[in-house]
């Protein structure tokens, strides 16, 4: 799946994550800001990466501003943002 436009999903409310995706040339660039970065930074990045891979997104910039979202929320928000930014609307 190819990211062709900038897109956002999620909110900055507690327990949510705000995700921004934009097109990129080579590879997945994932940036994570989080209030629980020390405790969950690696898991947040992994959730975002797996979601992108599952959708077959190879090139994108993903930036996450996390307010303590659990894994399934991160996956849902990343998926929504990627699909919104992709060629085909789902």
């Amino acid at each position: 799946m190819k990211i062709v436009r900038e897109a956002i999903a999620g909110t900055l409310e507690s327990n949510d994550v705000f995700v921004r995706v934009s097109p990129a040339d080579k590879g997945l660039n994932i940036q994570v800001q989080s209030i629980v970065l020390g405790q969950f930074g690696a898991q947040i990045e992994q959730a975002a990466r797996q979601t992108a891979q599952m959708l077959g997104v190879q090139n994108a910039v993903l930036s996450l501003d996390d307010r303590g979202a659990i894994d399934c929320t991160i996956r849902a928000r990343v998926e929504t943002a990627l699909l919104r930014g992709a060629e085909v609307q789902a």
Binding site: N15, V36, A42, G68
Partner: protein, 467 residues
């Protein structure tokens, strides 16, 4: 004769202020306090160095303290609580000597017993007369009780009363009596009333906090303690205060009258006093204007000193007669040790206050907290700082379940009989982690920036610097 001095400088000179002394302050003006800043600025201007600050609590309004530390005016801090703005600087190592944390009762005992020596107590007084009789009941910065200043006034070598509201002699009633006071200084303002007390403390509307407090009230209901003469203390925050809202109908239903409400007093407890739910209030600190009005006008609402509140060496104290205390936590471990000093990264943002005192004294000490906050489970394997030892904590109440300390088999059985959702504390930890995932915990490894002294004077834990 008059003890009125034209300026704080004159009063400090009169009391012999010099390098290396210990100055004490109370925190009844909370985040509106102006006096600590004025006094330290004065000491700095006079070129004084190497002071030890003996403060019952420190708030973010005291941020100028950081500069006095950097410039060497203050080289030691002993306190019972420190809000996050000051705590951040301490956690980053701004002060060379470790901060000494105590509990409210522990501090009172340390002062009463002479373990802590105060050279000059600088007492902010909302109202005072020219001889130094002082109280918190009148004036623009009225704060109610002056309970935490009482041991300082009794035992400091010198006492300066600082007020912005001088009344004709004799001020009545006197929380601080003239017999202990050397000097009285009038200043334009001792603090900002907006930071001192709010109008009335509102009960939280957060539905999760309410779910926790509803469950907490059920625990109290089935603890066997909710009967005639019931006594109770709760904090002013979140789920703690909301417990009171659910206790009220239970007390009405059982037709019981409580003997006393204790501690930091809020308008909500004042309402319950006025409506006959409690016979009396024992007040070491007022949290809102309604409490201030009540302590001024209602003889059944009385001020008590920090010593009478919680000193471990007194022949008896109010906490020893306390049935139930409801307390908060940033973390609790599987041995029921509680952290209220640091956040989950180990950065200082609080302190015992009366936490460990009431936990030790009350028949039922209850921690109320969400099962996880943001994404962080409340139950951990080992707390980053042991503020209150687990053997004094009876029960943890979260929105998804209750854990009873194994030392309290009786309580465990009573709550199970009442069909409340009781789990081993390990199970609550796992329940949270099934939702949040397993957090990676990194314990700070820097040098020791604070020591936590238990109420009996022993060293309970140390807090290390965070990068």
């Amino acid at each position: 004769m008059s003890k009125l001095f034209p300026s704080l400088e004159d009063a400090l000179r009169h009391c012999g202020l010099r390098d290396g002394m210990t100055l004490s302050f109370h925190h009844h003006l909370r985040n509106g306090d102006g006096v600590l800043n004025i006094a330290l600025a004065e000491a700095a201007r006079l070129g004084i160095r190497d002071l030890t600050l003996q403060a019952s609590s420190l708030f973010d309004v005291h941020a100028p303290l950081i500069d006095h530390i950097k410039s060497g005016v203050v080289t030691g801090i002993e306190t019972n609580y420190m809000s996050s703005g000051i705590g951040r600087a301490i956690s980053r190592g701004v002060l060379k000597k470790p901060v000494r944390f105590r509990s409210h009762g522990g501090r009172a005992d340390a002062i009463d017993s002479g373990r802590v020596q105060i050279d000059i107590a600088v007492i902010a007084a909302p109202a005072a007369d020219c001889m130094g009789n002082a109280n918190g009941l009148h004036g623009p910065a009225a704060c109610g009780s002056l309970g935490y200043a009482m041991p300082d006034a009794l035992h400091a070598k010198h006492v300066i009363v600082v007020t912005d509201h001088i009344v004709p002699y004799p001020l009545m009633p006197a929380s601080i009596e003239e017999i202990t006071v050397d000097c009285v200084v009038q200043v334009p303002s001792i603090g900002d009333p907006k930071g001192i007390v709010s109008g009335t403390t509102q009960i939280t509307r957060d539905p999760v906090a309410l779910a926790i407090s509803r469950m907490a009230a059920q625990v109290i209901q089935h603890s066997g303690l909710l009967k005639e003469g019931f006594s109770f203390q709760t904090g002013a925050g979140g789920a703690s205060l909301a417990v009171t809202q659910y206790l009220r109908p239970l007390m009405r239903q059982l037709q019981i009258t409580g003997s006393f409400g204790l501690g930091g007093i809020t308008g909500y407890l004042v309402d319950m006093l006025q409506e006959g739910y409690f016979r009396t209030l024992m007040d070491v600190q007022c949290f809102d204007l309604k409490a201030v009005e009540s302590i001024r006008d209602n003889p059944l609402h009385q001020q008590i000193s920090a010593t009478r509140y919680a000193s471990p060496s007194a022949k008896s104290t109010a906490v020893n007669s306390l049935d139930v205390v409801v307390l908060g936590a940033t973390e609790i471990d599987t041995h029921f040790n509680v952290n209220v000093h640091t956040d989950s990264n180990g950065q200082i943002m609080g302190g015992s206050g009366g936490h460990s005192d009431t936990a030790a004294g009350a028949k039922l000490s209850m921690i109320v907290a969400p099962l996880f906050r943001a994404r962080l489970p409340i139950v951990v394997d080992q707390v980053l700082c042991n503020s209150t030892p687990g053997h004094t904590v009876d029960v943890l109440v979260t929105q998804r379940g209750i854990a009873v300390n194994p030392l309290r088999a009786d309580l465990n059985q009573a709550l199970r009989d009442a069909r409340l959702p009781v789990y081993p504390i390990e199970e609550l930890k796992q329940m949270a982690q099934r939702i949040t995932g397993t957090p990676h915990t990194a314990r700070p490894r820097g040098r020791v920036v604070a020591e936590v002294e238990y109420r009996d004077g022993s060293l309970l834990d140390t807090i290390r610097a965070v990068d």
